[in-house]
Amino acid sequence: MSVTIPSFTLSSIGPWLTLTVGAIFLLLLDALSPKGRKAYFPQLSLVALGIAALQTYCLWGRSGTDFARMIYLDNFSFFFYFIFILGTALTVMLSRQYLEDWGKNLGEYYALVLFATAGMMLMASSAHFIMIFLGLEVMSIAVYVLAGLFREDFKSNEAALKYLILGAFSSAFLLFGMAMLYGAAGGTLYLPDLAARLTDKAFVSTPLALLAVALLIVGFGFKVASFPFHMWTPDVYEGAPTSVTAFMAVGVKAAAFAAFARVFFLVFPSLKVDWVMVLWVLAVATMTIGNVTAIAQTNIKRMLAYSSIAHAGYLMVGLVAANQLGAVSLLYYLLAYTLMNLGAFGVVILVGRKKDAYLNIYDYSGLGAQHPVLAATMALFMFALAGIPPTAGFVGKFYLFSAAVQAGFIWLAILGVMNSLVSVYYYLRITVLMYMKPAEADLGPVAFSPATTAVLVATAVGVLWAGVFPGFLYNLAVNSVKIFPGM
């Protein structure tokens, strides 16, 4: 018996390799070196991310598959690589000060973040369902650990445990869905093959295929925090270390949407009539529950958790539209969301300070007078999240809702607009507290490290730049979604 080893090019997975090797290197260094070295871990992580970004840049424009057709090489993947790298780099820069305050500036933190990022990339570029699952688990397991990083903290523990149990539960549905699909399509899990076979009438609309669609919606819906699979989100986001929350809100969500979009746009266009209605209902329910509940929150992390649920709802509008603009807006908005959400969490970390002492929204009272620049950036991020022009949040929402209108889902657009008007209430409340309420106490100095300052400047500039000149990102996104049929 001869075993043929399929030919492959390592450079096709260059970014993952860099991150994985970088993470292992960090772990080794952590184990072998004296304590003082740890100070360099964020920088080392950033170097690894920088190299990965460079590799992605070199890969841009490549197309096809590699590794025995297990992974795709296309701009859709690479666009998401950039989102992940950006999100991770900003997270790493936010982390150091925060973790040192908690006495938890551990080497494994950075290693886990890099592992998770590699998992996300795997999810975005999979050409086979098993690879999607593999990526999901690589990412999720790392994030479960990260959520429970503060072992002595009751809430952090609770967050990790809940996320683990429910995550496992939902992964089972995802896996089950894949199994159904394997049966429905006659024994293949390659995405391109499935796409070809599911156009055949014999395979479409069999209960097995529909069951597969349902279960995949559940699996992905859990990771993007869609209703009714969202209930873990507030607890986990609140309990996890703030830097990890930021990472989850942007990275995990983006990765899940990458796989979600690829599977549904590429494999299931023939079942569109079936899943579009389901996602329509989920999108509306998700954004409504997220926004309405966010109004009543007084903990800023919890508020941002509900905001993140609402944003999952908006993003699903892009899936429902299922046209070119829908896919483009999904990509654009995920990038915009990465910038504005990480910026907001950056401010939360700075204001929260020693061991998250100031997480109540009333702690933001009077921030405008005491720390004008910090307040101004927070106001900008709040406006962006609320979708007020001329920020990236506005343009992104405009793309999303226009896509819905273009696809004929007028009511979806109306409900979306209504929702974003409701959401302005709780975002603006933070601004009001900052500028229109006297401080309840002296907030004291806020320690700006160069890294956090850089994050705030970069995200603030990015949010405005992408809002005033969205053309560049839009064109990139258009370029990236060409792989889907009919786009």
């Binding site: 429910l166 919606i217 009714p228 699979f229 607890d235 389901v278 309405v292 603009l325």
Partner: protein
Amino acid sequence: MMMDYVWLIPVFPLIGFLINGLFGKKLSKNTVGIIGSAVIGLSFLVTVKIFFEFLNLPPGVKAVEKTVFTWISSGNFTAQAAFLIDPLSLVMLGVVTGVSFLIHIYSVGYMHDDPGFYRYFAYLNLFVFSMLILVSANNFLLMFVGWEGVGLCSYLLIGFWYEKQSASDAGKKAFVVNRIGDFGFLLGIFLIFWTFNTINFREVFDLAAKYPIGSGVITAITLLLFVGAIGKSAQIPLYVWLPDAMEGPTPVSALIHAATMVTAGVYMVARCSALYVLAPFSLTVVAVVGALTAIFAATMGMAQNDIKRVLAYSTVSQLGYMFLACGVGAFVSGIFHLMTHAFFKALLFLGSGSVIHGMHGEQDMRHMGNLKKYMPITYWTFMLATLAIAGIFPFAGFFSKDEILFYSLVDGHLLYWGIATVAACITAFYMFRAVFMTFYGEERFDHHHVHPHEAPMTMAVPLMILAGLSVVGGLVGFPIIEGAHKFKEFLKPSIAPLHAEVHHAMSFEIIMMIFSMTVAAVGIYIAYKCYIKTPELPEKITEKFPTTYDYVYNKYYVDELYDATVVEPIKSGSDFLWKGVDDKVVDGAVNGSAGMVAWLSAHLRKLETGFVQNYALAILIGVVLITGYLIGR
């Protein structure tokens, strides 16, 4: 050509905002004031230069578009950052920059002792920037940017004195009410794009011309846009925020809540005249809402004792006139009244600000009286503005208001005209009531604590300039003589006519004028009778009709009605979702004391499994429902 640099008009205030907002804390008050005012002055100069260049354009050029860059572009959709220079936008630019400039200078004196001086000027500059974007945009989306921006600044400025609970409540109210309007406006934009595949004003209007009169989609678009206008311009039923907005500093009331932002709705309707003339039903709605608001708000103005609130209801009422004009197709008259109103209403507010300033913060007219002795400049300028708003010849308000009354009769309905005439009488009454209570009669203030004094020069000079404009501002729209209505001739290219112009007999026009003057005179006489001749008369009337008075005084209890039917249910809904659907106990643990945590730890295991089970159950229900739907359908 300066026209190529039209973007400078909004950019100057933006620069002012950035300088004052970022470094204002470190700058001296004088510097802040000079920068804040100078940037507006520069915008005004650029506007004037462009105005003259526009006049010298070859005949036949109706409008010029200047694109700065393409903002959003996707497929067949483009929204440009571009400016539309045409008569309508030039009028608006001129009014906004000119009046703003005067109010900025006034503010230097008025706000001088306020600790938030730099913050105030930063907001004010940002407001002017947004307003200029609103009126000069060449497409709906960019206009919406300005629309949102002015709303935001208005909100910040109403709540400027946030230490006052009423101020921050008023800000919140303005915000929520405006959201409803914005929703309609945004939907209107979506519908426009969906219908015409473009959002550029001129392209939309050209395409719309192909639709038949009364077509459903145009009616829907115009109605949705009008919902936006109702919110922004404080018309029935969304007017409730404007009177409360008086909690802001008085110059803000003058600029935002009288002269500029609240007129945005009128501007938008006039800008879309090409759409409205195609939708007779929408025009009727506009006219009815305008007429009802005009009289409804006027009656409420009669019973107010706070000088600023009188002016607030008067603003709502005058905006109603402008919409009435638009509703009968007299868009030019609406814009004309918008302009003259900007002059005299800004003056009235600044005058009331001067009174409040001189009375050490007193706003209740019952505690004033005979102030003409102490503040002659304020008195005379206030008087001129009052004559203008009452519609006395030859002051500015006379020409514009008379024109509206005229068109509401010839192009509208006898009923519109009747309502508008009665409202004009009431307007003259309550405005003179305010003048008499404030500047005449006995001195009802406490002489030991209050020493009324005239305003400083930075405040008095803007008053005098505005007074001049209130006197002569109406002459650009001189009626009767052919061709003397320069304003109409100028605006013609921007406005779609409802029908071909009809010439009316000169004698008819003159009779109408005399009649409207008489109506105003009657109002003034009643006020004179009630507040100068027999000051006990109002008291008696109040006693005779206690219920009516109670209703009017309490503004027909509309606020209470909204509270009970809209606000409370939403509040309890959100609470329910939070407390009922969201888990109670985890939240308790988060907010709770150490005892709570201890209690939780003890029951941790039991409770935790419970929660995760709940969440898992939700997932499972989701699975069942989705599967059931997909397979069962």
